[in-house]
Symmetry: C2
Subunit: 366 residues, 2 copies
């Protein structure tokens, strides 16, 4: 029950330790602390390392008995803002709460890190402190997408770690995305699709055709089913579990989907507010509408996971409130407990070996 | 009132003549003819050239008194299917209803063409028969997107004519998209945004930075306001009227948006069917729900417009029903009547001259 840094909560209490960046989100540290409180209530086996300005955090934390004994504050005097450039933060980020949050994963104090801060900076700091997994060229950010699948979600990656991806990177995204779906969505043999446009003839985009061939060859060794090219309309479908694309396209698709869902729900709200009968109807259907809201609530699936690093980092939405932060923490805890990072490393290593074997065989045939 | 081909209905009746491909849609010619009937009822000044198998079309058309005197059938024995490759159709497409539909615009018999057929093939046939406007390198497909704008729609292009676009092409899309918004949405000085991801530093994608500079320089001559980079979430927003992107990204965004809107409305339907109170609530709110459905109904905005050719072609959804076909025809008629193609050609020509002037000035300063 100590919050003294000299004893590691992980060893004393066998709790899952989450390293949390209290600063850098749009709603400030109060929203993050409120998210911790929600998480602590829901899950007795969580403990937190909370990074940020101690003079701000101490009073916030002390208001909540639920986390008083399970939350150790790590003072970090500086904050990465949404305007800071990743390259700057990479060079001069020591002393920020973000840097400190990642370092707790690097030195083994915490199993996983969560931050609401600047995505580009978080990826830059994660890369430089945690380093890439052996064999990974480009790390990726994977997100969950509400879908018609029985589990309710699909995985898409990359949604913004890097704006480019070669065929080799896309193959690695497939391997890593399938590992994530296995651990995060409990799918034994995920279906993987490669995002493309529907035209028969795609002049250019040679990397997609090449990636198509590589994924077809790799699917058995990597234990996924490759369903081939999928289109934007398939992202929320039950045709596929993991959608692979480059970070430029993935980011545009993610934000377009979020924007469209928001538009639909705003229009719906306006429709129900448009007259007495509609209001009465909405009142009667309140239970159903609340379930609907929950089903398409982006806060429920809050958390982009950085894949391909020596450590797990969950990026929460910058605008996350307590519900959003707590969803990101739940996801982080789940990945920590499933031993995800070790499994992922093993997958990437074995895919690398399979790739080499295939290259050797291919070379022999030529 | 003659349907005899020797007299041109346009000259006799001063009607707007639409050339319509009756074949190649997923629902067959009956859906297309039903769409003509809806359009003819709503608009007394329309007449049609209908292309396809006469033995199939004649009985369909003769069932409807509304179009009997306003619809001339042009027999075309062959059909372009969804599986046909654009390059094949380009070489061997003569005799298909699609080819014949475009030719009626080429030879001046009709003001505009509408087809539900294979998009790639339709673009290929349109390119080879109508030819590109002088100064246009890559034609584009523009679509309307339900939005928070006062008019209810934004324009996005390219949504799939070509998977690549250089800075010069993107600038041309801005000019053409703005012209379309001026004629199609009645906006005097449309706001144009360039689709990008939100990160501060975009390694690579040099064409976007270059296009950003070119659009900033061109906005006054081309009479649009350039709002800079926009993100996926801005597509349905009131920040922008015209969203410019390459055809790969635009196609993914379009289909992702459609897929997400469909998912939201399916989830909503399930929610209202989930219990007695919900059903009763839905019944009371029926009027509001119907207006909502109409507001987000993709059939209402059915019609991708091909920009950059010597003639206007409207591509209707392959799966369009009578309502969808009639929406595409309404859009086609509006563009024909506004003299859109002449205005567009003038814009492209003047933008080309402005670009040359700028290049000369720029060259002088260097």
């Amino acid at each position: 029950m100590t919050t003294n840094g000299s004893e590691r909560p992980a060893q004393v209490q066998q709790r899952t330790i989450i390293s949390v960046d209290a600063m850098g989100g749009d709603r400030g540290p109060a929203a993050v602390v409120a998210g911790l409180v929600d998480s602590a209530r829901a899950d007795a086996d969580l403990a937190f390392l909370l990074h940020g300005d101690e003079s701000v955090l101490r009073p916030l934390v002390s208001q909540h008995a639920e986390i008083a004994g399970r939350c150790e504050i790590r003072h970090a005097p500086r904050v990465v803002t949404m305007e800071d450039k990743p390259s700057q933060v990479m060079r001069h980020g020591a002393g920020t709460s973000m840097w400190s949050t990642i370092d707790s994963v690097k030195n083994g104090e915490a199993a996983v890190a969560v931050s609401c801060g600047n995505t580009g900076a978080l990826m830059a700091v994660s890369m430089i402190r945690l380093r890439k997994l052996p064999g990974v060229n480009r790390p990726a950010i994977a997100c969950l997408w509400p879908s018609r699948n029985p589990g309710g979600f699909n995985v898409m990656l990359d949604v913004g770690a890097d704006i480019k991806a070669e065929a080799e990177d896309l193959l690695q995204y497939a391997t890593m995305g399938a590992a994530y779906a296995r651990n995060g969505l409990h799918l034994r043999r995920p279906r993987v699709g490669l995002l493309n446009v529907g035209t028969e003839e795609h002049k250019g985009r040679a990397e997609l055709k090449l990636a198509h061939d590589r994924m077809t060859a790799a699917q058995d060794a990597a234990e996924f089913d490759f369903v081939g090219f999928v289109e934007g309309g398939d992202i929320p479908s039950n045709r596929v579990d993991v959608i692979v694309t480059d970070g430029f396209t993935g980011n545009i698709a993610l934000k377009t989907g979020e924007g469209t869902a928001k538009l639909s729900s705003d229009f719906m709200r306006e429709a129900f507010a448009s007259g007495l009968l509609s209001k009465l109807g909405a009142l009667l259907a309140l239970g159903a509408l609340k379930r609907l809201q929950k089903r398409i609530d982006p806060r429920r699936v809050n958390g982009g996971v950085f894949l391909g690093l020596n450590g797990t980092v969950v990026k929460s939405h910058g605008g996350a409130d307590a519900t959003g932060v707590s969803a990101a923490i739940r996801l982080a805890a789940q990945l920590a407990r499933s031993g995800f990072i070790d499994r992922l490393a093993a997958r990437v290593a074995s895919a690398g070996r399979a790739g080499q074997d295939a290259a050797v065989e291919g070379g022999g045939q030529e």
